[in-house]
C-alpha cells in the first residue's frame, strides 16, 4: 500500500526513461506518455482516497529509518496536489499533438513533459527538504527546455529571464537548506518540525525561514519577485504554457504552505505578517499588470500572479478556514488556469491571432458557440462568479479574512476580484465579441494612456502556434476541464470538506511527524 506514495513519481519517470530509449518513434512516445499520465492520475486518485480515509502515508526510501534516509510522505495536501498534477498532465498530453509542431515533438517533447510531471509530483510528495530541492531542479530543468524548445526569438528572450530568476531562487533555496542543516542538523521535514520547535536560537531560524520565503516567493511569482512569469509564459506553444500556468507556480505555493505550516511555525506573528503584506501587493500588482495587457496569454499570465496572492493570503491568515480557502483556491486555480491557456490556443486557431487589439479573422462569437461557453465558464470562474469553483474559493477566503478581522486584505481581495472580472470581460469583448470588420480602434475597457501603445499598433505575435481549425481533441480537453470547473462548483460541499480536513491536518503537524518518525519521535 505504501508504494502508492511513490507511484506518482515513478510512473512518469519510468515513462520518460522508456520514451527516451524509444526516441526514434514519435507515436510510441506519445502513447507511452499519454498512458503514463493517465496511470499517474489514477494512482494519484487512489493515493488521495487512501490518505483521506486512512491517514498520512509515509514510505522510507531504501528502508533506511527516518530521518536518515529520504522519506516520501503523502498527506492530504500532497495527495491533492498530485491529483491535480495528474489531471493537468492528462489534459496536456491529449492537447499537445494539436498544439506542438512535429519538429518540437521530435526534440524529446514527450519525455520532457513526463519528467516535468515526475518533478512536480516528487516535490509534492517528498518529506525531505533537500530532496525537495532536487525535485525542484528536475521540474525546473525540464521546464527550461520545454520553454526554449523550438528556439524562436520570443521564446529565447523569455527563457533567459525565466532561467536566470529561477536559478537565483534555486541558489537561495540551496543556501537556505545548507544553513538550516547547519543550525538544526537534519533535513527530514518532520524531524525539522521537531528540531525547529526545540531550537534555542529562534532568530536564525526565522532568518532562514525568510530566506525560504524569498526562494519560494520567486518560484510562486509573488510580488515583487514575479517578473520571470509574464516575460515568458506567453511564448511557448499553448500546451506548454498551459501546464506551466496550471502547475509550476503552484509548486512554489505548495512549498510555501508546506514549509510555513509544517516546519516554521515558531514566529508566525512575524513571518505570516510578511506573507500577508506580500499577498496583498501580489494581488494588486498582478491584476493591474493584466489590465495593461492586450494579448490573450499575457493577460492570463499576469492574472496568475494576482491569484497567487489569494493563495498566499490564505496561508498568511493562518486560520483553519483561511487555509482551507487556500487549498480550495489552488484546486480551483490549477484547473481553470490551465484551461484558460488551452482555450487561448483554441481561440488562436479560430481567430488566427492572440492580439486583443486586432480583430481576428472571424468572430468567435459567431462561428463557435462552444468555445464561447467554455471560455465563459472558465473566465467567470476565474473572476470568482457563482456558481463556479472560483466563487467558492473567493468566498471562503473573504469570509476567513472577515473572521480574522483583516479588513484591509478583504478589501483588496474584493477590489481585485472586480478588476479580474474587468480583464476577463476585456478578453471576451475583444477576442470573442468583436467582429472581423472592425478597425483596431478603441477597446471596450478604454484605451490605456502611454507611449508604447501609440507606437506599437502591432503586437509581437508568437508564432509557436499551429494553424488551421481546432481539432476535436482541443474541444474535448477544454470542455472537459470546464465541466470539472462546474462540477467543483456544484459539489462545492464535499470539495470544501476535503479542503477543511486538509487545512486541519496542515495546522496540526503532529500526525505528519508521527507518520514519518514513528509514534515516539
Amino acid at each position: 500500500m505504501s508504494l502508492l506514495v511513490l507511484l506518482p513519481v515513478l510512473i512518469p519517470l519510468c515513462v520518460a526513461a522508456l520514451s527516451m530509449v524509444a526516441w526514434r518513434s514519435l507515436v510510441l512516445q506519445r502513447v507511452l506518455g499519454t498512458l503514463g499520465s493517465v496511470a499517474l492520475l489514477v494512482s494519484a486518485v487512489a493515493l488521495l482516497l487512501h490518505v483521506d480515509r486512512e491517514g498520512i502515508l509515509a514510505l522510507q526510501m531504501g528502508s533506511w529509518p527516518a530521518p536518515f534516509g529520504i522519506t516520501f510522505v503523502a498527506d492530504r495536501m500532497g495527495a491533492i496536489m498530485t491529483v491535480l498534477a495528474g489531471a493537468t498532465g492528462v489534459a496536456t498530453f491529449l492537447y499537445s499533438p494539436a498544439s506542438v509542431d512535429e519538429r518540437r515533438q521530435r526534440l524529446f517533447y514527450y519525455p520532457l513533459l513526463s519528467v516535468l510531471l515526475a518533478g512536480v509530483c516528487g516535490a509534492f510528495l517528498t518529506g525531505d527538504i533537500f530532496n525537495l530541492y532536487v525535485w525542484f531542479e528536475v521540474l525546473l530543468m525540464s521546464s527550461f527546455v520545454l520553454l526554449a524548445l523550438g528556439g524562436e526569438r520570443p521564446q529565447l528572450e523569455g527563457a533567459i529571464k525565466y532561467v536566470t530568476l529561477n536559478l537565483i531562487s534555486s541558489v537561495l533555496f540551496l543556501i537556505a537548506v545548507g544553513i538550516l542543516y547547519g543550525a538544526v542538523g537534519t533535513l527530514n521535514m518532520a524531524d525539522l518540525a521537531l528540531k525547529v520547535a526545540q531550537a534555542e536560537d529562534k532568530g536564525v531560524i526565522t532568518a532562514v525561514s525568510v530566506l525560504f520565503m524569498a526562494a519560494f516567493g520567486i518560484k510562486s511569482a509573488a510580488f515583487p519577485l514575479f517578473f520571470w512569469l509574464p516575460s515568458s509564459y506567453h511564448t511557448p506553444p499553448f500546451a506548454v504554457s498551459a501546464i506551466f500556468a496550471g502547475l509550476l507556480t503552484k509548486v512554489g505555493v505548495y512549498a510555501l504552505i508546506r514549509v510555513f505550516t509544517t516546519i516554521f511555525t515558531q514566529d508566525t506573528a512575524y513571518t505570516h505578517t510578511i506573507l500577508l503584506i506580500g499577498a496583498g501587493l501580489t494581488m494588486v500588482t498582478g491584476v493591474l499588470g493584466a489590465a495593461a495587457q492586450f494579448e490573450f496569454r499575457r493577460v492570463l499570465s499576469f492574472h496568475i500572479v494576482s491569484q497567487i496572492g489569494y493563495m498566499i493570503m490564505g496561508l498568511a491568515l493562518y486560520t483553519p478556514l483561511a487555509l482551507a480557502g487556500a487549498v480550495f483556491y489552488i484546486m480551483h486555480h490549477i484547473i481553470v488556469k490551465a484551461n484558460l491557456f488551452f482555450i487561448a490556443g483554441l481561440a488562436h486557431r479560430i481567430r488566427g491571432t492572440s492580439s486583443l487589439k486586432r480583430a481576428g479573422a472571424v468572430s468567435v462569437y459567431r462561428v463557435s458557440p462552444l468555445t464561447c461557453i467554455i471560455f465563459l465558464v472558465a473566465a467567470m470562474s476565474l473572476a470568482g462568479l457563482p456558481p463556479l469553483s472560483g466563487f467558492f474559493a473567493k468566498l471562503i477566503l473573504v469570509r476567513a479574512g472577515l473572521e480574522a478581522e483583516s479588513y484591509t486584505i478583504v478589501g483588496v481581495a474584493i477590489v481585485v476580484g472586480l478588476l479580474t472580472l474587468f480583464s476577463m470581460t476585456k478578453i471576451w469583448a475583444e477576442a470573442f465579441w468583436k467582429s472581423p470588420g472592425e478597425a483596431p480602434g478603441e477597446s471596450t475597457g478604454g484605451e490605456p494612456a502611454g507611449r508604447e501603445h501609440a507606437e506599437r499598433t502591432e503586437e509581437p505575435e508568437c508564432d509557436s502556434a499551429l494553424a488551421g481549425p481546432p481539432t476535436a481533441m482541443m474541444y474535448a480537453v477544454c470542455g472537459g476541464l470546464a465541466v470539472v470547473t462546474v462540477l467543483v462548483g456544484v459539489f462545492a460541499g464535499p470539495v470544501f470538506g476535503l479542503a477543511e480536513r486538509t487545512a486541519a491536518e496542515l495546522l496540526n503537524n503532529g500526525a505528519y511527524i508521527r507518520a514519518v518518525l514513528g509514534e515516539n519521535p
Partner: protein
C-alpha cells in the same frame, strides 16, 4: 587538430582511460570515486578521441546512440530500485550478494552498484552528447 601524434596517442590512451574510469566507478563505494567521476573520465577519453579524429568517428566507435545511452542509464538506475521490490522490499533498498572471485576475498555486489552504473552511463551519455553536438560540423547528422 589533425595531429598524427595525438591520434596515435589517443589510440593507446582511450582503452587505458576507459579502464581507469571503470576502476574509479567500481572502487567508488570504498574509496573516493564513483559513477559520476568515472563517467566524466570516460567521457573525457572519448572527447579526446573526438578531438583527435572527428565526432562522427567517435560516434562510430561508441556504436550506441547517445540518446539511447542516456535513456538506458536512467532505466538501469530505476531498475536497480525495482529489484528489491521483487523481494517485497521498499523501492531502492540495497540488495547484496557475494560473488566468489578466483583469487582473494569474494566481491560484494549490490543494487547500489548497479545504480552507480546507471549514473555512469548517464554521465557518459550527457557529457558526450553535449561535447559532440558542440564539436560537430555545421550540418545535420541525424
Amino acid at each position: 587538430m589533425n595531429s598524427i601524434i595525438l591520434r596515435t596517442a589517443t589510440r593507446f590512451t582511450l582503452p587505458l582511460l576507459l579502464l581507469f574510469a571503470i576502476v574509479v566507478l567500481l572502487q567508488g563505494h570504498n574509496k573516493p570515486g564513483g559513477g559520476f567521476i568515472g563517467g566524466l573520465i570516460a567521457a573525457a577519453a572519448f572527447s579526446l578521441h573526438a578531438l583527435a579524429f572527428d565526432p562522427a568517428e567517435t560516434r562510430r566507435v561508441i556504436r550506441i546512440d547517445l540518446r539511447t545511452l542516456i535513456g538506458a542509464g536512467l532505466v538501469t538506475a530505476l531498475v536497480s530500485g525495482f529489484i528489491p521490490m521483487v523481494q517485497g522490499k521498499t523501492f531502492m533498498t540495497g540488495v547484496w550478494t557475494k560473488v566468489p572471485v578466483a583469487m582473494g576475498e569474494p566481491l560484494k555486489v549490490g543494487t547500489p552498484l548497479l545504480f552507480d552504473l546507471g549514473v555512469f552511463m548517464v554521465v557518459v551519455g550527457i557529457t558526450l552528447l553535449m561535447v559532440l553536438t558542440l564539436l560537430e560540423p555545421e550540418e545535420k547528422t541525424d
